[in-house]
Symmetry: C2
Subunit: 239 residues, 2 copies
Amino acid sequence: MAQEHTVKSYDEELNQLRSMISRMGGLAEAQLTGAIEALTERNAEKAQRIIAADRSLDILEQEIESQAIQMIALRSPMADDLREIVAAIKISSTLERIADYAKNVAKRSIVLNQSEHVKPAVLIPQMVELTKVMLKDALDAYIDRDAQKTIMVWESDKGVDELYNSLFRELLTYMMENPRLITPCTHILFIAKNIERIGDHVTNLAEIVYYQVKGETLDMNRPKSDDTSFAVVPPPANT
Amino acid sequence: MAQEHTVKSYDEELNQLRSMISRMGGLAEAQLTGAIEALTERNAEKAQRIIAADRSLDILEQEIESQAIQMIALRSPMADDLREIVAAIKISSTLERIADYAKNVAKRSIVLNQSEHVKPAVLIPQMVELTKVMLKDALDAYIDRDAQKTIMVWESDKGVDELYNSLFRELLTYMMENPRLITPCTHILFIAKNIERIGDHVTNLAEIVYYQVKGETLDMNRPKSDDTSFAVVPPPANT
């Protein structure tokens, strides 16, 4: 039988840190999936479960941070090791924020259940699918230390932003055509913005993993295509 | 004349870290002030300056983080000192996010300049005033290590949330009454949400400073009064 160790080896600590990150990544993925299911199934009970489960990611973030700080203070790691441990702190903080946005989606899905069905909501699952693939790839890149894959993730965010831009304009047009849809469309707008922000944070994740693996920053211009801050949507001709 | 020291003392390093935080706090305050001035003065040039200046906060955050990690690795600080250095990392990350929201306000102010004037926009400067007082008090609490003041800040966030709730309902009503206002009102809605999020982050700041000073968490239920995720605004009778 394996012996009990009261003092873990440095490698054991590092492996433990990695598996905590992977677990947290899996939980964040599940939160995003659950939130969008709650939305499309109009399932308030599932939304409540997602909201409640967010706490476990907050706790995991704290645990990862504590362990990382302790390792830095007690082991004085250098170069690659220090970079990996600092990356763990940043990754856990980013995953916590991703889960936070998923929680917000779940919250808003509850009020949407009570409103009229709005057609453009079909673009939302598309945005989520793309975001989920990005998140999965970023987590795979972390496990495999695959810098090439982080670049792929980084470039995919453009697609999420483009879907968001379409949705933004479409929703505003719906609101103009039918004032009864203003409340549900506003909530869908905020849901879409939450998912667009998740895409941004997965892009951050890709940058953190790239830096961890390569020791240099992903030195290109960030693909930033959410231009809705500057969008003016003209009212339809009949208003 | 003072002699050159190639190796700084630990206290010098700590003081340097503190003054970097204070400087970053001042810059974040200035960004928020500038963003709201750009909005109320309909001054696109000022908005562009705010957007450009955000970069300096990103750089400062990186510098603070590098210095803090280096201090943890090389000095292996314990207890109070470790808590202060970890707090510096978190504070700089929070200030960076606050400045990011200010930048978003500046971005949206540019498109609002091109739209019709919307009446409820007067509530926005009120929200900003309250948020700025909170930010100033949180930074004072950091400098003075004043736990009492952090609790005060923490409790003030309720006021920001209440203003946001009013604004949310008011804006939706305006949109229902006049479809021509849907585009500007949507941008104001996102601006208001950005400021509401700044309030949340200043509340985080208060929690970080409290923990740094007291060594225990601000163990109350967080005052969370943005209930617009659950808001259903009925259309006016004439639609």
